[in-house]
């Protein structure tokens, strides 16, 4: 991760008003953020916390009431920033009467890409998101997962430096969720900067380097995920093949040193891991009941 700041907000605030200019809701209050090149940054918070508003302000879809949002050092309202930016909205807001090919061709043209470059890029992306067989079908025939994938493809059509993902795993099944997360990590490996917002904590924890937690439009926490999650006054011991005697001995040692034993038991895997293991096993041995350990 470099120190180059890709995205910055300074006392960014947004007040939604009604037709008569009266204040309806203060969606964001004085947000200060910096996102550096190459990191995966997560905006975390419950519904209505201001995550999507922040993304929309950074994209120039909304105008700030106060403060400013800078992308690549330029105001968010500057259209030129979009040359280096990709955006996957919460729902894939795409033209449903277009096919996947036509969709990517349309967005490619919006980047003023020459025909041959566009053609090549479309083929790459269609293959990357696994829609080769459905590329000639209209999007209105697509499942939710397929729509998300073509949505991601359109966000990557220009090979962007900065990718903004609004609830990227929303509506995806566990496999789709994992694929999306893998994709985010792959993009990170390619040196892309990614800003995502989500209220699914596990997703954010799995892929983000740093997170900002918002609540009621205010920044409540900001930092590296591993540091934020670290519980400083608890020590974790993980070991395999310990006998009952050995476990008792450990309890005695902790007690001798006036420590408080919180738990000493066998760990469980996550439900996501269990599900994925079952699916993998089922695909490897179709027709048989999965035997996951």
């Amino acid at each position: 991760m470099s120190e180059e700041i890709i995205l910055q907000t300074r006392a960014l605030s947004k007040v939604y008003r009604d037709f008569w200019g009266r204040q309806k809701v203060r969606a964001l209050k004085g947000l200060d953020l910096e996102v550096r090149r190459g990191e995966v940054f997560g905006l975390l918070g419950p519904n209505g916390s201001g995550k999507t508003t922040t993304i929309k302000l950074l994209l120039g879809l909304l105008f700030p009431t106060e403060g400013e949002a800078l992308v690549f050092g330029k105001p968010a309202s500057d259209v030129a920033k979009n040359e280096r930016l990709g955006y996957l909205p919460e729902e894939s807001y795409l033209y449903r009467f277009l096919t996947a090919d036509e969709t990517l061709d349309f967005y490619g043209r919006l980047f003023d890409m020459p025909s041959d470059v566009r053609r090549q890029r479309i083929d790459e992306l269609i293959e990357m998101v696994g829609l080769q067989k459905a590329r000639k079908r209209q999007l209105q025939e697509y499942s939710k997962g397929m729509t998300r994938r073509i949505g991601l493809a359109q966000a990557l059509i220009n090979d962007p430096e900065l990718i903004m993902l609004d609830e990227p795993t929303s509506g995806l099944d566990p496999i789709g969720t994992r694929e999306m997360k893998d994709m985010i990590l792959r993009l990170k490996d390619e040196g892309k900067t990614i800003v995502m917002c989500s209220h699914l904590l596990a997703d954010v924890q799995d892929v983000c380097d740093r997170i900002a937690i918002l609540h009621q439009g205010e920044l409540k926490e900001l930092g590296r995920v591993d540091e934020l999650l670290k519980v400083a006054d608890v020590t974790q011991i993980r070991a395999k093949n310990l006998s009952v005697d050995c476990q008792q001995e450990l309890r005695d040692v902790i007690s001798r040193h006036h420590g408080e034993l919180v738990s000493l038991d066998n760990p469980t895997t996550t439900l996501e891991e269990l599900f994925l293991d079952i699916v993998r096993d089922s695909e490897a041995r179709p027709g048989r009941r999965a035997g996951v350990k």
Binding site: G60, L61, F63, V79, A80, Y87, Y93
Partner: protein, 609 residues
């Protein structure tokens, strides 16, 4: 007649304008400047109310400066991408249904249209072209007003504006896309209409042999035959054949037929000729001499409220005089030089104060005069048929009033190419009515198909303006509101002159506020309102607020009625190229102006909610 106002040559119209009007280009810049200044003031006021005066000024400045630089960065590929999207969207929205409706209308049109009419071509052409106009305008309205609002509603606009697309490209691309759709629709409707008219008017007759009367020449030789055709399509023609049995029929219902002998007592009658024409008139300037012999700008009024035509009284010195420029024997260059004539067309509006002789047309005379030497030809009599276009070919060899043989082009045309045409009415107590466009030199007809295509261009121009307005206003408001706005725009455009007359105080009854008072108090427009405080306030409001705003709005309104060239085709006149170029230029002005306006409207609104 269709040309009621003088049509200026294109470049004169564009740059300098006429006697009482500014050139189109300077007018455009003045209006553009006015709208820009108004937009700047309103924009600053809104920004200042939101952010305070200083920051509001900064925001306004940045919006304008960035906007101008972005306008220069318009990329054709992006514009074309949006245009293609608009075309696909139109197809998805079943725009082809309009074609189905159109052909359905044509299928049932023959129930209501009759070929048994004095001028069936006028009836058919008016119908199909008017139907095409309304359908195309309707499609333009629906496509343009709902497209962008639908993108906002479905949020697909999010994925577009987060690409490096300038707001102007979104506007221009949509205008171009919908224009292409409308062009396709109009092309199909135009071809369908033309085929429909030609096929509907097509008919033939047979020659009725029992009606033949032999015509003999001066020496008693057989000079041919006279007779009639059979009665078909509600009419029959008189016919004249030469000694070989070939000839043509008289004009009935606006057409003739050629007749060819194909054997003994066997004749082939051609399909109708001259139904659809594209006359190319050269207009002169009209002035009058009244019954006392005094020169006047207009004739007398016979009580008609429409002052377009004025009248001369019969059997008096009253004369209508047209002066034509650039007259030479090259007007109709086909015949040999010695046989060339001056083809004139004359339309007479007959006003009778007594019934006269039943079945006998009123008589008039035509004389030609050299405006320099005042040499005048002997009067040529003609029968006046009310509101009919009478084609009169004035022969080259004429007699002067002193009965000396004179040459039309050498003796009656002045050195600078001018000639005067004098028309009088001979019947006492009867009147002939004329307008400037009622007498013209008839150049060889243009192509009816080309003229028909030019009428379609005028419909296209109206549709493109509607599309531009629809797309522009839909950046700001929802689809139904945008549609209502455009409908209002079209209605105001069709009645622009009335709107201007109210704004400038030419109409009786005051402005909008005074009208409300008059409606509420049941005072008609001719009644003077009482001198009360309320009435004075209302009049003041109209005078200093409503009317100036109406006047300003009127400057940006297109005169839709003046765009329509349907009457050219219906009346059988060629649509002049100057007219086509002027209309297309106006259209281009609207597209440019509205694209810029649309750019700023879209640029300054929040796309998301």
């Amino acid at each position: 007649m269709v040309v009621e106002q003088q049509l200026l040559p294109y470049f004169q119209w564009l740059l300098t304008g006429g006697e009482n009007s500014l050139g189109a280009l300077p007018s455009f810049f003045f209006v553009f400047l006015g709208v820009a200044m108004a937009a700047l003031v309103i924009g600053f006021a809104i920004a200042a109310s939101r952010y305070g005066i200083l920051r509001g000024g900064d925001v306004t400045y940045k919006t304008v400066s960035e906007g101008l630089s972005e306008l220069l960065q318009t990329a054709p590929r992006r514009v074309w991408a949006i245009a293609r999207l608009a075309i696909k969207e139109s197809m998805r929205r079943r725009v082809a249904v309009a074609l189905g409706v159109f052909f359905l209308v044509l299928l049932f049109a023959n129930w209501f249209l009759s070929t048994n009419h004095q001028e069936p071509a006028r009836l058919y052409l008016s119908f199909v072209l008017t139907a095409s106009t309304y359908l195309v305008l309707g499609v333009a309205l629906l496509l343009s007003a709902f497209s962008l609002p639908n993108d906002f509603k479905t949020k697909t606009i999010y994925t577009v504006v987060t690409k490096p697309v300038r707001a102007g490209e979104i506007i221009l691309g949509r205008i171009i896309g919908f224009t292409i759709v409308i062009t396709g629709l109009l092309a199909i409707m135009g071809v369908g209409s033309y085929i429909f008219v030609v096929r509907s008017l097509d008919h033939s007759h047979t020659v009725e042999l029992e009606s033949f009367q032999v015509v003999t020449g001066p020496a008693g030789e057989d000079a041919g035959k006279k007779g009639t055709t059979s009665r078909d399509a509600g009419h029959r023609h008189e016919l004249t054949l030469d000694a070989e049995g070939n000839g043509e029929t008289t004009v009935e219902n606006g057409h003739t037929h050629a007749i060819e002998s194909i054997g003994e007592n066997k004749y082939r009658v051609s399909p109708p000729l001259g139904f659809i024409r594209a006359r190319v008139p050269q207009y002169g300037k009209l002035r009058f001499i009244d019954r006392s012999g005094a020169a006047k700008d207009t004739g007398i009024s016979v009580g008609s409220e429409w002052t377009y035509r004025s009248f001369i009284d019969g059997n008096t010195p009253a004369t209508a005089i047209w002066t034509f420029d650039n007259v030479s024997d090259a007007v109709d260059p086909k015949p040999p030089e010695a046989e060339r004539s001056l083809p004139l067309s004359l339309i007479v509006r007959v006003f009778k104060t007594h019934k006269g002789v039943i079945g006998q047309a009123l008589q008039g005379t035509i004389q030609l005069r050299n405006p320099e030497s005042q040499l005048t030809s002997e009067p040529l009599p003609f029968d006046a048929q009310d509101q009919q276009v009478d084609d009169i070919d004035i022969p080259r060899k004429l007699l002067s009033q002193s009965r000396q043989e004179i040459d039309l082009f050498k003796d009656l045309v002045s050195k600078d190419g001018k000639i005067e045409v004098l028309v009088k009415c001979l019947d006492r107590g009867q009147y002939f009515g004329f307008a400037q466009a009622d007498c013209y030199i008839r150049h060889p007809d243009g192509s009816p198909i080309a003229s028909f295509a030019k009428v379609c261009v005028s419909i296209w121009v109206q549709a493109v303006i509607v599309v531009s307005v629809g797309v522009t206003i839909s950046t700001l408001v929802s689809g139904p509101v945008a549609m209502l706005f455009v409908v209002g725009f079209i209605i105001l455009g069709f009645w622009r002159q009335d709107f201007v007359d109210i704004a400038t105080g030419k109409s009786y009854g005051g402005g909008p506020a005074e009208s409300v008072v008059r409606i509420a108090t049941q005072a008609n427009v001719m009644v003077q309102l009482e001198d009360t405080l309320l009435n004075n306030l209302v009049s003041g409001f109209d005078k200093y607020f409503a009317k100036p705003i109406m006047w300003a709005v009127a400057q940006t309104l297109p005169d839709f009625r003046s765009f329509s060239t349907v009457r050219y085709a219906a009346d059988g006149y060629n649509v002049p190229w100057d007219r086509v170029f002027q209309d297309v230029t106006v259209c281009l002005g609207y597209v440019i102006g509205l694209s810029i306006l649309g750019y700023f409207l879209l640029r300054t609104r929040e796309v998301a909610k």
